[in-house]
């Protein structure tokens, strides 16, 4: 097997990213949509860390930690909204969440 280069990691990250985008665009269940967003963020993280190794410095890794923080915040708020919404409408399907006000 050949030497693993940065491009290999980028391809994996791109694949995860596309999978995440497909999930966000096509699934109905909000929980799965949020999970797909986590997938996208992970793909970005993988890119950053791969580049960090390519350039030989740690800026990419530091940035990926920021993205992890962001992902945690996003999950907390997203799931909070989801619970609040579920309590009022008893649905967690994106195509039924079409009210701006209730």
């Amino acid at each position: 097997m050949a030497e693993i280069t940065t491009l290999h990691y980028l391809v994996v990250a791109a694949a995860l990213f596309v999978l995440g985008v497909i999930g966000v665009l096509t699934r109905r269940n909000v929980v799965v949509v949020l999970m797909s967003i986590e997938l996208i963020l992970n793909a970005v993280n993988l890119n950053l860390v791969a580049f960090s190794r390519m350039w030989g410095n740690l800026h990419g890794q530091v940035f990926s930690i920021f993205i992890t923080v962001d992902a945690a915040a996003e999950a907390a708020v997203g799931l909070g909204i989801l619970i609040a919404f579920f309590r009022n409408t008893e649905t967690i399907n994106v195509d039924e969440i079409d009210l701006l006000k209730w």
């Binding site: 619970i83 579920f86 309590r87 008893e90």
Partner: protein, 384 residues
Amino acid sequence: MSPRTNDSANLDLETREKPYLDSNELIINMGPQHPATHGVLRVILKLDGEKVLGTECVIGYLHRGVEKIAENRTYTMFNPYVDRMDYVAAVSNGLGYCEAVEKLMNVEAPARAKYIRVILTELNRIASHQLWLGTHALDIGAMTPLFYTFRDREEILKIFEKYCGARLTTHAFRIGGCQYETYAGFEKDVKNFLSFVAPKIDEYETLLTTNRIWLERTKNVGVISAADAIALGVTGPVLRASGVKWDLRKAQPYAAYSEFDFEIPIGTNGDTYDRYLVRMAEIRQSLRIIEQAVNGIPEGPIMAKVPKVIKPPVGEIYHSIEAPKGELGYFIVSDGSTQPYRLRVRPPSFVNLQALDVMVRGLLVADVVAVIGTLDIVLGEVDR
């Protein structure tokens, strides 16, 4: 009276607030096979998360029709059946039944028989409270007291076995007195037991009374106010823990209780911890009574003059005694034949169980277990 009372009267399931998060509340069957329901009680819990919105007791899994059986047995034949109701306090059940029939027949047991009755009944009260303490502590998660109390309860059962040959369902008393004279060394055995068990009670208390976790699990849990308790007909230690000084041994003395000096321990808050303290104090009072009784036991016959075939006159009678769990009453209607026309038992556990719903509303699942334990129910008695 109590710092936190559950307003019991007007709590019905319709007025509850909308449960959190999920529109339909979680309904859980606790029992009939559940480690903490002390037999075959089935409690249907309506939960909001872990919060109890309401309970419903389903009973009758142990129903044997004891009251109906009584109508087809002679008074003497029915005597052993009552032991099978509250099987951990069989002696008390027998005492209540025998005294009720005696009252119906207008006989009185001789003094010596009365003293023996008091000794055995109080021993049984201690045994019952010990068993309650062990299982109650186990429900709350403390394993060890169970084994300690069983070790010490064994000594009481040994005395029973030596006296009448049975350990649990004793059938110790007969209508009109006692069947057996005390065995040689009975007094010594009882006195030995008294000196043996007193330090053991302290031992239980060191494990629990000041244990922080025990305090947190029992204080302000399952509070019932005196008014609520009276309204629901709750009796026994549960009522006394709410601050009502009501003990049939003092209020309407039976057997030889009027001759002894003892106190009625009462609580203040009516919570689970107070019920624990009251029962522990009751064990000590029972020890006092036994000590006085065994020292002052008179000589004489143990059986009053009772005809071979018991045929009480036509009439009806209600007689109740203070069983370990509360007021145990027998209502007997006699049509002058050898069998009761109707016999009705007022079991303390059955009535006390009513208070469960009032006590656990708004508490957590773990508290339901603690409250079932603290009510000290025996399903044989609830279902009869």
